[in-house]
């Protein structure tokens, strides 16, 4: 993985040629589900864009449509209205974009593959030679602090370890755009902070363009450059906050700074209104 930074940089110069300065553009996107004959407006006319190398957190109470929004960017869902562009081109579910990596909230590791074989999956699909595959998988295991666990099946790993394997399974193919759907939502506080450290380490080296969905304000502040706050259902864009804490960030030490506390309470107030609204019938 140590050489991957250089590879990623080598790919990027072509980017400057494009008309749009944004890697991801969400334009007036709405999504309506029909459940038992009733229409549910999950996302209502949301627009935002994400620049090259930017880490954006989509924050909102449950039911604010943040995962729906992410899944539409990933082409797992189709918008009811509006359009989504990646590098200036509309996303197409028929043609998955190889530059995009996705990390699920749910555990989607293949239980019949060992941790190593899970991480190697996308390389195997792409026909990467076995020797190179092995080398890259070993580097990824070391990066995630999973040395010695490569031969284990997912059933024998803890929740935190499984999520590390899942993260590495996505990162091994060096996606330039990373979509993450509450990837650490099911982990306990300590394991979560640990995962933040792992993710920040990798991101600060590779600077992927990230959209990270979460309902955890602390997590959003620790990781993101910008927080997009969504309202309670139907999800609308409520407010945006720039998070300008210096990098590299320390997931634990950051939380004790005054700037963190200030921003936390500002957003907390705004988020709190939505939580109240969301809990109303």
């Amino acid at each position: 993985m140590s050489r991957s930074g250089a590879t990623a940089v080598a790919v990027r110069p072509s980017y400057g040629v494009r008309a749009s300065p944004h890697r991801i553009e969400v334009r007036d996107v709405s999504k309506t589900f029909t459940v038992d004959g009733r229409e549910i407006h999950a996302v209502d006319t949301v627009s935002f864009s994400v620049s090259e190398g930017e880490f954006v957190a989509l924050l909102g109470p449950s039911g604010s449509g943040k995962s729906t929004l992410l899944n539409m960017i990933a082409t797992l869902l189709e918008p009811s209205a509006g359009e989504i562009l990646i590098d200036g081109e509309p996303v197409n579910p028929r043609r998955p974009n190889r530059k995009v990596g996705y990390v699920f909230q749910k555990d989607t590791l293949f239980p019949w593959r060992t941790a190593e074989a899970n991480i190697a999956y996308s390389l195997q699909l792409a026909g990467v030679p076995a020797a190179e595959r092995r080398e890259r998988v070993q580097a990824a295991l070391a990066e995630a602090g999973l040395k010695g666990f490569g031969g284990f099946y997912p059933a024998a790993l803890s929740g935190g370890m499984r999520q590390r394997v899942a993260l590495m399974r996505t990162l091994i193919s060096r996606p330039q755009i990373l979509l993450m759907d509450e990837p650490f939502g099911a982990l306990d506080t300590h394991t979560k902070l640990d995962m933040h450290r792992v993710l920040l380490n990798i991101w600060e080296r590779e600077r992927q363009t990230v959209v990270f969905v979460t309902h955890d304000l602390g997590e959003a502040l620790t990781l993101a450059d910008r927080i997009i706050l969504l309202s309670a259902r139907p999800g609308r864009l409520k407010e945006e906050f720039v998070v300008s804490f210096p990098r590299p960030r320390d997931a634990v030490a950051l939380r004790e700074t005054a700037a963190y506390g200030d921003l936390f309470s500002r957003i907390w107030h705004s988020l709190g209104e939505e939580f109240v609204k969301g809990s109303e019938p």
């Binding site: 998955p96 989607t108 699909l125 792409a126």
Partner: protein, 290 residues
Amino acid sequence: MRRQRHWATLAWQGLICLTGLAIWQWGYALHDRLPWLVPELLDPYFISRPSDIASQFLHLGCLVDEQGHWTIWTKGAFHQCVAGMDNNLWIAALVTLKNTLTGFAVGVASGFLLGLLLGRSDRLARVFHPYIIAANSVPRIALAPIIILAFGIGDASKVVTAWLVVVFLVFFNTFEGVRSVDRDHISAARLLGASEWQITRTVVIPSASAWVFASLTPAISFALIGVIVGEFIGAEHGIGRMIIEAEARGEASGMMVAVFVLMVVGVALSSVVRRVQSYLLRWRPQHGVF
């Protein structure tokens, strides 16, 4: 502690076996004195006796010759006996085993492919649904006489009968297995760059394998049933043929030898299937090495 319990289990099993054999061997002797206790069914005319079955086994298996001498001590005696007896135990067992395994293999392969195809394609599944339900509702064994008529009394008809009983079983399980693949695993594979064929190969098949394997143990027993029924109706060799011949002679011990051999064959076949299964499914927690 565990070891002790293991020995206790073995001791009980041995005791039950010996008691059963003893009742079988000598129980009918009490029939005249205690007719209310000893049922008519224990009559050796129907079910033979362990000692008769053992000696019949040695004869049918060419292990002893007609004079009661062991054939292994005389050079060439075994071969001479085997050559002289048309449907001897070894030929019969090999023919039955060969046809069972062939029918099983063809049935598993075709059932699996059909299940995969229909499981992955909604349109095909809709079109073929009524035909499969109708075909599955026919007791396959009822077709055995037709199959003998069409394919003759040779091996082919036995293989076809075995195939017919196995194919539906494996098909239904594969179909269910393919249908119950976790949608999120498929999404994950697709987002990691898998093509439809790669998804089938790397996600659907391994994921459905537990379902497919669940059908293999019953399938191997069914294949054996199919072959035996085929042999009952018309065959030149085979254990089923041996049973029919012994029945015609009113020879219970001969039938019992055949049944005993079938039992051994059945146990051996299903234990091989189970072993292969637990190796291939070692990633599952209940089969795991951890």
